[in-house]
Amino acid sequence: MTGARNARRRPVRRSDPRRAGTVAPAAVAVLVAALGAGSAAVARADDLPRLGLLPPLSVEGGAVVAPSLGVAPANYVWGGLAAAGGAWSAGRAEYEEVFGRLVVGGVWTPSFFQRLSFGADFAALAVHSIHTVVPPAIDEWAADFDVGELRVAISGLPWAVDLPDDEVQLGVRAHVRLTLPTDISRWNEGRRAAPLRRVLGDDIREHEFVGIDLGGTFAVQWTLLTAYQTLCLVPVAVVDSEPQFLLASTTGAGLALGLGFELLLELNVLGRLTEAPAGAGRLGAVAVSPGVRWGTGGLRLGLEARVGLVEDAAAPYGDATLGLTARYDFDR
């Protein structure tokens, strides 16, 4: 439980006593000092601290290109069910979308090599409906039911620092993640009926692609407060077409409220570094995601939301997601 974590973080499978750092309590300064201190601050493969940092929000009503990954090594399964809605206009045409996703996933950290974790997420159900109104003649709904994309990730924990008196923990974790086009929603006939197409453009409708997500997450916990920052560069290789480059950033903060409750707030930013391909439209997005969780033992239940605004070449777009997540940590 997060509320108890500050005083008694449990090294559930820790084989060695944690090392104490020797730097100042301010998080950034500690990191800089730790980097500068050389191998003394670097966790070894057999000397990983058991960080109790809050995992980031994970609800997805629509496709999210580069969701944040947690820093702490863990073994868990999770699922999220969310519904979302969005709207935009072009001239006198107005569009409303209602969509939702069921995403399931998990992370496995081998006990014999805890530097690495392997994870996968799969949108087992992606539903999408669009209401098109172009007065006076057009007023129609269309709906699609699909599966979504599959994401597989390998992440490592090359840096982990546990500071004196259990007051400050630091973690930096890199990852490589592949987003694979198992979704068929990109093939939908409606121009805007596939959220992933909105982000990556229409090229992915005609061509196979893979998103190669290179990123890292830094997290720091100080007493009841956790902060994390993920940066991802996402080259998207599209067969027989131009590659695309996206930059995703997640900045989050969590607060342990006691009695197993946690409060989180994230700021997500997605930008396109390359020129938008024909039909893509979306050039950049920003979203604010609040969430509240409750946990007991290995179980965490979350009520999470996301309110996003997308800048389009022609029309601004906004959407809102609300969903439930459940996660079970086998190590807790």
């Binding site: 009503g61 519904a83 979302a84 809605g85 072009a90 001239g91 006198r92 045409a93 209602v98 969509f99 939702g100 539903v127 409906s129 209401h131 098109t132 172009v134 007065p135 006076p136 003649a137 057009i138 129609e140 709904w141 269309a142 709906a143 093939w187 939908n188 006939e189 409606g190 121009r191 009926a193 229409d202 409708r205 005609e206 024909a278 039909g279 022609a314 609300l322």
Partner: protein, 581 residues
């Protein structure tokens, strides 16, 4: 809440999927049950094709039909696929042939003419003599200015004055620069006699054509209604012909790239819009009447009411309101409301912002100039006060693949003896509106793929059940994206066929021209001819089909359906089969 909305949306979407088929328009064929497609052959001379829908006629009177297909060169094939003649574009200095050719006996001498419009100002009439195309005496005609020769992308023909001879109307994309004070500075629309000279009606004191001229006084455009006329290029089949007033002569409708739609009498003068409603607000010619083409049409009828009638409110412009642009919007003349008097209709772009951005296409239907209806000339037909709109078209930033032309088709496909208006628009949908401006259905021919365009549709009963089917070509960028699509009268997909033999072509791949439907080999079954950008002409046979559903009074052998070739007939005037008497 979202989930509830989604469930509701899904339920509604499910309802949308089931379309009911309309009542038959015609009696069934003697042998109903046709409709199966059979690829017959491809014919190619290796040229890129554009919007030049082929013609099928018995040119030499030997009982067998010939196929006339303009590309850059003009090919004439026999019904069996033998290349009878290839007229090189180099021989007469023209280039690509954008609009469909006029094929008719222009002067009633039993010799068929093939008239093509091309660039360098050329309009060329060939005669089909002794199995070959020969330039007709008096031609080529020219639409060149004194210093500039544009491309003629608009061509139409009709017997304007009912004297038994067919006049040819051509329009150019380009004329003299604004800085050039030549008399041909505004001369975009030309009318030629069958002998290639400019058409001049008897008893008219002024030079009737071309228009606009720089003359003043009677028949002059420079001072018409005080402020005069001005124009800009006509970029894609921008001509229509039909009778829109009380006299028997046919008028010429021209749409321009300066937001204007104009109607000319055969004597070259433009028709006034309802002078009791439309008057000039300009300080230079305040309260003067306006011809059809002397003012910009706006999407919002209140803007037109304020600006052209009440002369009040802010001066309209694209910075705050939508205006209508007719760059490549062919006009048709048809009786939409069934009162025996014709209207003018078309699908202009709906633009706003600067630089201009097309957000929609609109279906505009304007009344003719008739005493019985109080000369409501250029007024909106009441059912079309609020114009039906498409979605936002693809924003074509590099011109390739070439974008579609929103050519309207008028045909009764609902079996209610009233016309429907069909068009494949550049948002990826084929639209079908009824005569009351209601959207009956639309079909996503592009299947969501960007920069995928649909041709002017053809309409004929291909299954023999008395309900006409709709055939259109589809094109886009790459091989594999060219298709022939055949829909039922209710919008169900009957055939969606990838064209064989597609090739890389920088202009695009697939069938741009309106399919021509005809019984080319005389076996009683209809063939569909698709002229493509990339690989010549594809011919499909529709097994078991017949000419059982035709327009009353039309030649069923030439036009075995309700709209069976580009611009409705081989005169390309937008009147449908009845427009080629």
């Amino acid at each position: 809440m979202w989930l509830a909305a989604f469930v509701a949306a899904t339920a509604v979407a499910g309802c949308n999927e089931s379309r009911s088929e309309p009542a038959p328009t015609c009696g069934p064929a003697a042998r109903p049950g046709g409709g199966e497609l059979e690829f017959v052959r491809n014919l190619s001379i290796g040229n890129t094709g554009w919007f030049s829908s082929p013609a099928v006629l018995d040119l030499d009177g030997d009982g067998g039909k010939e196929i006339v297909a303009p590309f850059y060169d003009v090919a004439v094939w026999s019904a069996g696929g033998e290349l009878l003649h290839r007229e090189s574009h180099a021989d007469h200095g023209h280039d690509r042939i954008f609009a469909p050719a006029v094929v008719a006996d222009l002067d009633g001498d039993t010799v068929f003419e093939i008239v093509v419009a091309s660039n360098r100002g050329n309009v060329i009439a060939y005669e089909w003599r002794e199995g070959a195309m020969r330039v007709k005496t008096g031609w080529p005609a020219s639409t060149c200015g004194e210093h500039v020769c544009g491309e003629n992308r608009s061509l139409a023909a009709a017997d304007l004055d009912h004297d038994g001879r067919i006049e040819v109307v051509a329009a150019t994309t380009e004329t003299e620069d604004d800085d050039d004070a030549s008399a041909k500075q505004e001369a975009y629309v030309y009318v030629f006699r069958p002998d290639g000279t400019l058409y001049q009606p008897a008893g008219v004191a002024w030079p009737a054509w071309p228009r606009y001229n720089k003359r003043t006084g009677p028949g002059g455009d420079a001072d018409r209604n005080g402020c005069g006329h001005n124009a800009y290029g006509l970029y894609g089949e921008n001509l229509g012909i039909g009778n829109v007033d009380d006299d028997p002569e046919l008028e010429i409708v021209a749409t321009y790239d300066n937001h204007h739609i104009q109607v000319f009498d055969p004597d070259g003068t433009a028709l006034d819009a309802d002078p009791t409603y439309f008057t000039s607000r300009s300080s230079d010619c305040r309260d003067q009447p306006l011809t059809w083409g002397q003012f910009i049409r706006y999407l919002d009828p209140q803007v037109e009411e304020d600006h052209y009638h009440l002369h009040t409110g802010d001066w309209p412009g694209p910075s705050w309101t939508y205006w209508l642009q007719w760059t490549a919007s062919p006009p048709n003349v048809a009786d939409i409301d069934g009162d025996g008097r014709n209207e003018v209709l078309g699908f202009p772009n709906v633009e706003k912002d600067e630089p201009y951005h097309t957000y929609h296409y609109a279906l505009m239907v304007l009344q003719g100039d008739y005493a019985a209806t109080g000369h409501r000339s250029a007024r909106r037909l009441p059912a079309f006060e609020r114009l039906p709109l498409s979605e936002e078209p693809w924003q074509d930033d590099d011109w390739y693949p070439v974008a579609g032309i929103p050519a309207p088709v008028v045909a009764d496909i609902q079996g209610d003896a009233r016309p429907e208006i069909l068009a494949a628009l550049n948002d990826g949908y084929l639209y079908v509106f009824d005569a009351d401006a209601r959207l009956l259905w639309r079909h996503n021919y592009a299947r969501g793929a960007p920069f995928t365009f649909g041709s002017e549709p053809a309409v004929a009963d291909l299954t023999g059940d008395g309900r006409p089917e709709i055939a259109l070509g589809v094109w886009s960028d790459d091989p594999g994206e060219g298709r022939l699509l055949i829909l039922s009268a209710g919008g169900e997909v009957l055939h969606d066929v990838v064209l064989p033999g597609q090739r890389e072509d920088g202009n695009g791949v697939g069938a741009t021209a309106c399919p021509t439907i005809n019984d080319i080999d005389g076996d009683g079954q209809l063939e569909i001819l698709l002229l493509t950008l990339d690989h010549g002409l594809d011919i499909y046979r529709v097994r078991g089909s017949s000419a059982n559903c035709t327009v009353a009074g039309a030649d069923a052998d030439k036009y075995p359906g309700l709209w069976t070739t580009g611009r409705g007939n081989f005169l390309r005037n937008g009147l449908g089969p009845a427009g080629d008497p």
